[in-house]
Symmetry: C2
Subunit: 340 residues, 2 copies
């Protein structure tokens, strides 16, 4: 089968591609080709696999070609991130709304005009669909039945696309499923200016021997997951039967509900007090106010019914990041130079 | 002030225009002009008012001109209806999604490019946003905090546009509010093929001396309202302060929660047993199955806080329809020729 990953050169997309290549199969069929569509170039270690083909350019510009080729499954991860959408409203509309609509219509044309079978489509949504509306404050545990009242353009676009995927699915134009990702940590690389950036930064920077700023109170709670668990979730959602997915409402992937204090305690256990001591409390009112609008914890019974579990502990999340950094192919040993 | 009503020649739009003309004011300002944008021509009795101007054509084709003119408030009612959207997917996307997006972007350009104040925008949504997802069955009373999982393209588009209106409002591009209409009854005219058509037909046809088919069990319950109450609701939502509206989540307008049996009993009380006897039970499995997917009752505390109430009884709803038919200007006496 042929699989398209939009955003396939990104942090989650590249790891999804690696996992699919390692499995070799999806939903009982052999994977012959994985097309990575992305604005950025894919990593050499991905392109080294003969099954991988990369297409560089905006998704909107690529859709017609992609839709005209044989295609069995799509993981639609490409997205402008939250902060970008707040700064540039048109970019958000174009990258998140118009691109998804164009993708859906291209996939629909395959069915309506060429009699193709509906493509299996996994849409990567986000718990950013949840935001506290003054009329409807959050429950303690945010579930898939919680009313989404997004408070960002990013969250709005994710919710809108979830609804479009569900309706195109109802009509038989695609076989779509939306999976809401929780905050992925530890992201490698540099701080990216997103309000959620510190959830990775307070682990990543100390491990690299650098000082990290903690902009919120240690009591702040939030659901997080390793990228591995999110990749497992995307694949499981893509492999699920329609009956097992239950309905067409978006499914939140499991997150580990932790406080920042618990994250710091785990860092001390895994990497020692000297590493932990590099995290400095420097309250940032702007970031604290944004984070106060996020879910403090999720409950994910539907994902559990698919066999999906959150990471067992934040210690495990840190350890899997460390293992990734030590990976001989995609690792970055310098990212751990702060460890004793 | 200048007011635009999209769908202004339609059943609700024309009555909204009449109500606004009679009030002469909206949100404390005098109404100088009401522009009715519609694919159909407006009724002569509306055009007789010097403040009224009609524009005939699709909304998409009109938006640029409308957006370039002075404009203070918009009631956005134009929509392809549920049955049309199920038959013609592209029509639904164009009429309900693309038109609303184009309208929002035109209103945004007024603010971003010309420094205009955000236009007050009332978006007519619908309780069609609610549908029973297998994972999330309806509560007994559907409220504004009930998870919308639309089961039609129409309901999907309404929910998507609610979200876009909320986000454009959050950004200050419009001052938008979405109001969900319940099923309006008694609609004048002919049956329109919509699954909900019988909610009007079982009253309208007997009053006109014709036989009416009842396709569902008399125990079926559904929230309904007279067009007058819905018009009152749209105006109240348009006049509310942001604080009084509370948040940006769509607000359901009050509906009278009735069973079909209660509707028929009211018909007998208001018009007599001979009129009631013209309703014949002829179960239609297709319609019964569709209606089984609709909310059986609504609860509307936010609308109540704006002073809005549902019709006092279904007797009142029938009486207001009869009064409308007898109206010397817009009435149709033949519609009552079945009454003794």
């Amino acid at each position: 089968m042929r699989v398209l990953i939009t955003g396939g050169a990104g942090f989650v997309g590249a790891r999804l591609a690696r996992a699919l290549l390692a499995r070799g199969m999806l939903a009982g069929r052999r994977i012959e080709r994985i097309v990575l569509a992305d604005q950025a170039a894919a990593a050499p270690w991905l392109l080294a696999d003969a099954r991988v083909e990369a297409r560089v350019g905006t998704l909107l510009a690529q859709i017609e070609r992609l839709a005209g080729e044989p295609l069995d499954a799509v993981f639609h991860l490409a997205s402008a991130v939250s902060g970008e959408c707040e700064l540039d409203f048109d970019l958000g509309l174009r990258s998140n709304l118009d691109s998804t609509r164009a993708l859906l219509d291209a996939l629909r044309r395959r069915v309506q005009q060429h009699g193709a079978a509906p493509v299996r489509l996994v849409f990567a949504s986000s718990i950013a669909v949840f935001g506290p509306d003054p009329a409807y404050p959050f429950p303690d545990l945010v579930g898939d039945d919680t009313l989404p009242t997004p408070q960002t353009s990013y969250g709005t676009h994710k919710l809108v696309c979830e609804q479009l995927v569900a309706d195109y699915t109802r009509k038989g134009f695609v076989d779509g499923r939306a999976a809401r990702l929780v905050t992925v940590t530890v992201r490698p690389g540099r701080p990216n200016g997103a309000a959620s950036s510190f959830f990775s930064g307070i682990i990543r920077e100390p491990l690299a021997g650098q000082r990290a700023s903690l902009p919120v109170d240690p009591g702040v709670a939030h659901p997080v997951a390793s990228v591995g668990r999110m990749v497992d979730g995307l694949i499981a959602v893509g492999e699920a039967s329609r009956a097992a997915f239950v309905g067409r409402t978006a499914m939140t992937l499991p997150g580990l509900n932790v406080t920042v204090q618990q994250m710091l305690d785990a860092l001390e256990r895994v990497a020692g007090p000297a590493v932990r001591a590099r995290v400095v409390r420097e309250r940032d009112e702007r970031i604290a106010a944004i984070v106060a609008n996020w879910p403090r914890a999720v409950t994910t019974p539907r994902a559990a019914a698919l066999g999906l579990r959150c990471d067992a502990s934040f210690d495990d999340i840190i350890r899997s990041y460390i293992a990734d950094c030590r990976d001989p192919v995609l690792g970055d040993p310098a990212a751990l130079k702060g460890m004793a």
